[in-house]
Subunit: 438 residues, 4 copies
């Protein structure tokens, strides 16, 4: 590790902490990262990166699980009242909060890309002194939205990396791309950036996460444990009638949903590996004495491989159509999120391991970890890069957590941010050392 | 009651008893009444009636719940070995065991028709001394077939009536039609006789039953309590696979049947009156460790009115199609039987009550009885006659029973046969007294 | 009809209309009739009736479907702000909004009771000019509560009757009881008044309704078409877990509810008469990727007779317990309402018909009407009166409706109130003419 | 490989083929291996082994999935008529067809055991010239029983091994145990031999299979891919009633079974590894118009580990009890089979690989193969041996198959038998070379 870089990172560390706490306080959930995106754009612009924004990097039709137009408008107004920068906001209006910053060095070399995500979760943050963000005044002021997964840290790492790379720009070759993604929670956003072509020129791709149970000081260099997943909202619409006086006039959407629920849960047995299905939410009916004319279900499928998930998903579509037909009700399916399984490319994992070996804070380097069964939509980006012949990995920086991810008491040791910035910077500075056969 | 008729009936009563016991012993179930039909034809021919037989009175396509060709052939052979008359058998071959005997008096007058049924049930008759048919040597010798509903008596009454009418032919006017129907059990046969046009010239129609809980000495002159019904066999065909090694390769017909079963049983709530559905038999799968590729269900719907039954039946078809779609399996539905609800025409009920008043054995005459919820396919005949402007009723002669209908110990007091013959004969002899406004 | 009475009713008719519109505007739903009850108490007190209030006439433990303590307190405050009379309010506090007014004539004679109900529905009233209550300024100002069933009219009729009877008190004999009941909707309140002994001295009982499809000018003198019913809320509580990472750690309450739903809907086939079951509302789960740890269902059973309803209800309890056991989840059942079937006593129906014959506005008098399959908890009161040897009936005054009951556009022709007052008054004035054998 | 042994095996190969074909022709399925067992006993006795038979090596209570007493008696009679040796038959009577042959060398050394199974499957063998066993006259003459899994080969290998070991007895040390097990199909028999103590003194244990998709010439030295499994038969008993006339009097066992089926199939999602459940057979009801009073289900659970299988099994028991409670029907569960997952001990696998290296016919030696998801009850024996500190493995001899296992056209290349005999003999002859640390 070059001492100059290490010194510079140490110098900016207090600013990184401040940045992260500001993002944490004004947490914004998926597709609603209006304030966050304007601050990110402003900083990258200030540093001299070329920016592509909003619809340039987000394909409108490929977005999944978008909030209603009404919510989008309300939240954009709130963002303004909380310090979103008006000069950037129009780019993101309507749920297009993505940014790609590019640094062309002018020197020959590959395109190396880093992806961070910016969205918070729909969680109510604990407002008690035992919770450090509350005690130190940076707990979320947006009720029902909380950075309980560390994406505030990811965004901050992205910005810190931008600063370091710019500071030592002369050491770089080729092209650097920094990708700031919205709506990773629910695996809703990555696909739309892939569809917009953001990854099409990338030779080396790295997505990151902090925490996830990995101990402090450890780096997982090539995480491969994500399950492919599909998230769907299902609505059944039937005909209401008085359940006592005219039961025969109703087409019962609640019964269709009950049958569908059972059918879906009978599907996931597969010899190819793990598979899952879950009807997590079911809401049906309007009154006790009314044949229910409406039912709504939140469903997800998962598979250890894309093939398994696709298989279960197709079976699920059949089961839902069948259940609707059973009771002569209409049904609609809305795709609310999706992610792929993806294997990192081994040469790139090897290179990451080798570079990470220079970072003194990283005391344990592993390629993989035990099966985790979570999902992550950066896999769409990995698959696209690999499809075009590039190298890709997903790396995890271990850190201390105050509570599990998605918990109301979640917090992390902010030191991990400096470590991550140095590690990612090393990949960029030393890319010319990469060897396919390593 | 004319004394001459009464005396004649008394005279032939021992022969009626003998006839009934012969039919009882050689019980033949629905569409397999080969021996019975040849004996009936021979007797009616001997008496001088004009006969229409087999395909002349049974529409092939309208038959429901027909046994397999193999069973039909086997049983026809058995019938021969048990005394079926070869000279008549060819008419009935292949499941066409129906007979219509006509007596044209040459005198002006209406067409008056009587319908009796000839089939036994798929019941194993008790072979114990406590059961009179066994003790007296006329229990069924055809294992698994038993006259446990009294149709042996009905057929005998029909033949007794033929004898009486012929004996006193000079008193008759118009035309007499005696209809001997196969396959009433499961409500499979009547529709095919209607479709063959047997009822199209009938002015006055009467179908009969004995027993059914009506006390001895009572006549129900216009029973109206039959529910409309549809009987269907359902087969689901999927794809088998090893349940441990390749569960995903199977399309599970057993699960489709389980879903269908529950869906069907959620259907029958109707404000218009009673409705029913039943999955009475479900058989699925070939082995414990095999994803089931086949399921079979015996289903029936019922309704207090034809409209209700049709409504439930249509709902059932939807539910079955939906269940098949759910699991991507094929399904087939075979119509195995059907009957209608039907109201008797009041003037004819009044006339029957008036004529029955002359029969000393009938000590109680009622128009209706309490709701019974059984089904009967003579209703198809009643509906046809009424549709063409005729009069129709369904009458029940009370009698002592040794056990309920369809029970292995069923037997009845044979005296009811003479009473029935006299009552029906009175209708024919006095038809000129009928008044619409009575 | 006595002209003096008719004149007096005509005189007070404008006040009745005003009263009804005031009640309509400040609609209060079941157990929350705080303002209404204080106004009723004040008027009855002013007229000189002896009053029993609140806990004197409502048995606390027998109340069903009570709102939460929080809602009760909030609504009581709102009532105060909308003109509830503080001097009466304490009697009704906590959900005891019942009143029984008694007039002892001092002359020998029976106890004759009339029951009206006071509660509104949880319906949002249409706020459009096409809807008369809105156009004329008396649409509900309490959002989500609306007199969409006519109980505002019933309460007004009760007060008008009180006024007439008091005006002509000298013509009365025996004792008059006027019963003002809360929470009829959902059949929640009557049982608690019966349990408090309100009906124990009653010789003649009449409950009323307006509208319900009966044409204007017609009186149904002895409605008997109410189905017995039981309303229950069911909660399943399981264990949540991450549906992808730890599906085996969850105990799935949503699946238990789906199974229970199907099982319940398979229950209601009964040869004794109509029966019903409905799962009208099902709400389960917290998130798409979480094994649901909670499910909630609103269920009701109905039967043409009390026996049928009780039978279906017991079957339902078994099905619910079984479904909980299936998935190892806890379940709780809360009784939210109940009503009985009840036959009116014929002599009293005859007397009502005879008295109604004197009311010129009533141009059609019928004993019954076609089966309607609704439910009504005045049946608890009828059954109690009959049990103690009294006479009871339920009568319906036909009137024009602007839309069906429970519809957001419901309104009725207010002239029916004067007709009802006169009819009920006639029963009281002429009670000495009643004959058992009439 | 010692040439003398090889020569001897070559010499007896025609006799092995003849033996196998005799066993194939007189196929006997599980617990019914009467003829087979007497022939095995006779041969082992002839060779001079000490025998333990029947109840000495089979614990009566631990047997699972036993045929009825009637079937046992019938089949024993048939065996006699097909050449079973009366002098041995009494030992096996009643379903105790197990044999353990022991050879005490008198020289110090461990106990080394080999296990083969003897039962056929309930499959109808193809009787067509294209099928070699038919063409060459040794297709099964017992309709509905067929050696379609190769156990005829296994038994023959066991007997060939006995012959070789006896022939070269002087080279052996310690004790040899040859275990001939009944009823492996359905995983019904091994547990009862473990319960009888057969494995309690064993130091080295090897069970074998031929085929299973392993290519000819390959030996799997330590197969570990068996899933733990439990087989259960479930019976629901309710109350029948006429589905039209008295639906409320029935307690519907068919509906309970349908609910249970769906509930069972919703259970197997587990993060610990593969899990399975299957309702393979469902048979319910007696007639279309009868509320079903009986339902029968064949069910199995599986798990990648014993813990997972046990978990699913316990969940299944709850679901079944809940389904019975739902419809107020009785239920009974009969354990019909079970097997464990089991890991071979690595030192023993290493030794097997090393010894197999001397067998020229074995051209490929692998430790494991891809996950197969079958089950095998030799795992009970492996677990017992390991529990007491011994070494255990399960080995598979690849061979050409004419069709998949359990198929009506199954056949195998008989040369594999000689290869297996030589390999197993080598283990015994060279046991003194075994090293724990190898």
């Amino acid at each position: 590790m070059d001492q100059a870089v290490a010194d510079f990172v140490r110098e900016i560390t207090p600013a990184l902490q401040e940045r992260r706490r500001d993002l944490h306080k004004f947490a914004e959930s998926g597709w609603l990262e209006f304030r966050t995106a304007t601050l990110v754009a402003e900083e990258l612009h200030r540093l001299g990166y070329s920016l592509k924004l909003g619809r340039e990097v987000i394909d409108a039709q490929s977005r999944m699980g978008l909030p209603s137009a009404e919510v989008l408008a309300q939240q954009e107004q709130r963002a303004l009242s909380q310090g979103a920068l008006p000069q950037w906001l129009s780019h993101f209006s309507g749920g297009f909060c993505g940014i790609v910053a590019t640094l062309e060095t002018g020197r020959p070399g590959p395109v190396i890309a880093f992806r961070v995500d910016m969205d918070a979760l729909d969680v109510i943050e604990l407002q008690e002194p035992e919770h450090r963000p509350f005690a130190e005044g940076f707990a979320s002021c947006n009720e029902g939205m909380m950075h309980a997964c560390g994406h505030d840290g990811h965004t901050t790492i992205g910005l810190g990396l931008a600063q370091v790379l710019k500071q030592f720009e002369s050491r770089l070759t080729g092209t650097i791309k920094l990708i700031f993604q919205p709506a990773e929670e629910g695996t809703r956003g990555a696909k739309s950036m892939v569809a917009a072509g953001v990854l099409d020129d990338v030779d080396f791709f790295t997505a990151i996460h902090i925490g996830t149970g990995v101990p402090a000081g450890e780096l997982v260099c090539g995480n491969d444990s994500f399950m492919a997943t599909t998230k769907l909202d299902v609505t059944f619409r039937g005909v209401a009638s008085h359940a006592g006086a005219r039961p025969e006039e109703g087409n019962n959407a609640l019964l269709a949903a009950a049958q569908a629920t059972l059918a879906l849960h009978t599907l996931p047995q597969h010899s190819g590996g793990s598979s899952r299905i879950n009807v997590g939410v079911l809401q049906a009916g309007t009154g006790r004495n009314v044949v229910a004319d409406r039912a709504f279900m939140k469903v997800e499928t998962r598979g250890a491989t894309n093939e398994i998930n696709d298989f279960i998903y197709q079976k699920a579509l059949q089961a839902l159509a069948g259940a609707a037909a059973m009771y002569d009700v209409q049904h609609e399916i809305a795709l609310m999120g999706a992610a792929r399984s993806s294997q990192p490319t081994q040469p790139w994992v090897n290179f990451i391991r080798q570079q990470a070996g220079q970072i003194p804070e990283l005391t344990s380097l592993v390629d993989k970890r035990e099966q985790a069964a979570g999902s992550e939509d950066a896999t769409y980006m990995m698959e696209r890069v690999k499809e075009l012949g590039g190298q890709a990995s997903y790396i995890i920086f271990g850190t201390e957590l105050s509570a599990g991810h998605h918990n109301e008491k979640f917090d992390f040791n902010e030191q991990v941010m400096a470590t991550a910035v140095k590690t990612l910077a090393a990949l960029a500075f030393n890319i010319q050392d990469f060897r396919e056969e390593a």
